[in-house]
Symmetry: D2
């Protein structure tokens, strides 16, 4: 563990992904100040040496580099701008010259708004949503989709390297979010497609397992489907990437598309199926539980 | 080229797929009688030793094994039951004890109807639609999705082996067609998903190539998307699997689903996008041309 | 009851609509030969003076004018072309110079096929699907959507007049069916629209009755919605126009649209909702039961 | 014109609807302070006696009753909370005990947020979106969909009476918005349904006018369709209710539905068609221009 180049890093959002990303930063020798809406989730990190701050603002004030990864746009807004009537938002604590990397998946509109705020304060900002799941987060194997300046990215790379093996520089701020939303639409449609196909063959009296076997021999096979199809057939919907988040991301993709005047009929149809299942669900499920629309 | 076990084979339907499948049978030493709606397409096969019959019935009469691969249900009905007022349909020529394998993609309802007719005549029947494209047909590398008796399949295997490397026995007659339609719905949704995603990021001012690059690093990557995405980005829609056939197959999948009372909202939405592009198209295009809905 | 101009009329299809239409013809003084797949349904008509034939062909042979109204394309094909191996289809019994009016809702393709057969036999044919429900049938208050020659229509008018108050001459054969399918798509979307709206406000904690009250004051109010909305709110889905028939008609509309290359995204989405409810239903329901998708 | 009960009224939003509503209030003897993003639109009202304020806050400060009707949620937020760094929002100027009626169509979530702010300040609030179009606004013939306290409504009635003939009290704050969004989904689906139907029959070689004529005789006829269908057939898409606003309202309805977990597959499909046409449009069009998806 090298501490040359060790930074004071702030980390906000210690969920399924964030806790592993933060731990990897700690293990790499960086000093960490953290915050989470539910402080209990910080225990393991604090035990490993992280400092738990009382507000997002405190995290920002203590850091050269701030990272955030929270569940949705309102959560990010609340972290950055703070609670009404309090001065506890992270933006207020960011120092000129510092670096801020947001790995939440939010709307490109919000990414642009954050970028504008950062620019006003002299803060360098990257939108950097990730893919790779909690497994990728734990293994330091994430893929980052980056929007922002090349120079800022350069500066962030030693940090990204600790959490991921790959990053794509996709354009100016918000480009990372745009590509992320498009990617998730592709994944959601792959899974919805297999779910519809299983629904069809099952009702026709055949076994979904046979469809899965044929799929394995076909050009349509993907790592995602290799992983999800057996779980869907077993009805094992333990959340890896939660349905509620995929549903939110499809909503963000459609919101963007409707702002731009791009019709996405297939994504829109799929979103309503995810919505249906989410509306019926009594527990937190993986997005492959879209299957439940057909298999009750 | 061995002629031990050589059979008298009839082959009907010498299109993109059929001509290669027939040629492989010929090369394997079987004797071939062929028929095609457009006789000119039989030239190469005739030059290689096949006999061109005047009617589907003649083909059946001359054969121990009949194979058909035509474009859609009406084409198959016309080949099997013949032209009104004429006795030229293949069914009438099939001998009791012979084997009939249909590799067209048609409705499971039609497959069952053919199976019933064959049973009445003492003919052994398999529905055996294929996947693998014209390249797979030429290389003898097709995958067969089989509906029918295990015993009949056993008998057909030496013939299938000449044209393909793999077959799945999926259930009784019509099971092959059901799985094929479900598989094509999956493929159509993968391609539609990438098309929508490219449509979105392009309108947002980013490059589809960047999305493609990220996709290559993601779990969503599939052989199909590796193949189609670059062509979609170039706007190269030379038909490999024609749009009109994928559109037809989506229609057959939805027809089946609506007979069974299985809702397929995503497939239905995608079908209308394929339909839109097909309606606007002035030439024969690959199904990846669904892209044209967004990129004009 | 006048018998001047009384005709020998054949009537096939004594369902919800047909039995009333036939009774009105009988009451108007025409002599009637009838046939129904389930002969028991002819009892009332026979008691009133109709003759029950043994086959559709017998009906046609006994008639100057043939009327048919059956549930779907396969039923019409079976009535007209008869059972395999028997010579019992109505087409075979139609005399040159006679008039044939089909009031079933079937595909325009089938209407054209029937028209071609009739022309070959010198039979004058109208496709004449109806709207107005069983109430309109009983009251002689139907609306006919007519495809065919003006001259043929002229000849049919005295007969139509007995069953309906209005007819629209819409074009050559199949035009009646095309307009009918388009009309039913409109009706299905009105009802689906109200169903989605009730689903939404109910889940938001408001009463569907309030939405209905506002709708009554709005430009969106229609006779159909005035009729169906209260029943939907009560959950009274006794079939007036059965779900299975509306679902079939949406399928025919989409089949036509997909043959023509016209995308109908909204109709396609609605069809899958009707399909979902039909697939779950254990009894015969009115099409307003599409409501059950949201209200269980 | 009576001035007994004349009030000091503030009116913000002088668009297609607002200018007529404000003028009716002026004519009824109320004194009016107005504000509009584009001040030029206030000229006619100022000439008739209204006072033009410099900020929304000034309007609120000068009024016993505040009315707002602006185009979308961001516009309302900007009017109420003001521009960043300025203290010019209307909320800041509202006096305890005053009455605030918002007739914009916005999300129920925003209506609740406004209600909460008003409650904190002792301001009585109604969400009161309207239907009836610019014609209804001019004639004082609007219908109001009201969310809020019965007592507050009682107090507002003398004012509402000047602008409309009817109001529905639908529940607590946000109920007006919820019903309004559901109503607009119904209207959008009626129009989309007719548009799809015209698209279909036209491509089948028939005339949309004939479909319209049949529709006029059917139960599906509505005031809305009587009005819009001829314009759609002529291609006259002069905005009465602009496409961009209907598109926005469909988006708000779907946003609400997705928050609540209610799937709206038909509305979602229709929204993408409206989105497609909006994306292609170069000018401001009526929402009946959804027709352009089929008729180019």
């Amino acid at each position: 563990m090298s501490t040359a180049g060790a930074k004071k890093i702030g980390f906000i959002g210690l969920g399924l992904m964030g806790k592993h990303m933060a731990m990897n930063l700690l293990k790499a020798g960086h000093s960490l100040t953290v915050w989470n809406r539910t402080p209990a989730k910080a225990q393991e990190l604090v035990a490993a040496g992280a400092v738990l701050a009382k507000t997002p603002r405190e995290v920002a004030e203590a850091s050269e580099v701030l990272l955030t990864i929270v569940s949705d746009p309102p959560a990010l807004e609340s972290v950055l701008w703070g609670t009404a009537g309090k001065e506890d938002g992270a933006l207020g604590g960011l120092k000129a010259g510092s670096l801020y990397v947001d790995s939440s998946t939010v709307s490109p509109v919000l990414a642009k708004k954050v970028a504008a705020e950062c620019q006003q304060r002299g803060v360098k900002f990257l939108d950097a949503p990730v893919t790779g799941g909690d497994w990728g987060a734990r293994e330091g194997n994430l893929v980052f989709m980056i929007g922002g300046d090349a120079e800022t990215l350069k500066e962030a790379e030693p940090i990204l390297q600790v959490m991921g093996k790959k990053w794509f520089h996709l354009g100016p701020n918000s480009a990372g979010q745009t590509i992320k939303l498009a990617m998730n639409a592709i994944l959601a449609l792959e899974v919805a497609g297999v779910a519809e196909a299983i629904g069809l063959v099952t009702k026709a009296g055949l076994k979904g397992e046979q469809l899965a076997e044929v799929l394995q021999s076909s050009m349509g096979r993907s790592g995602l489907l290799d992983l999800k199809t057996p779980l869907m057939l077993k009805g094992d919907f333990k959340p890896s990437f939660p349905l509620r988040l995929m549903h939110k991301d499809l909503g963000l993709a459609l919101e963007l598309a409707n702002q731009l005047g791009v019709a996405l009929p297939t994504t829109a149809a799929a979103r309503e199926v995810y919505n249906y299942v989410k509306g019926e669900a009594k527990e937190d499920l993986d997005y492959s539980a879209v299957m439940k629309f057909w298999k009750k």
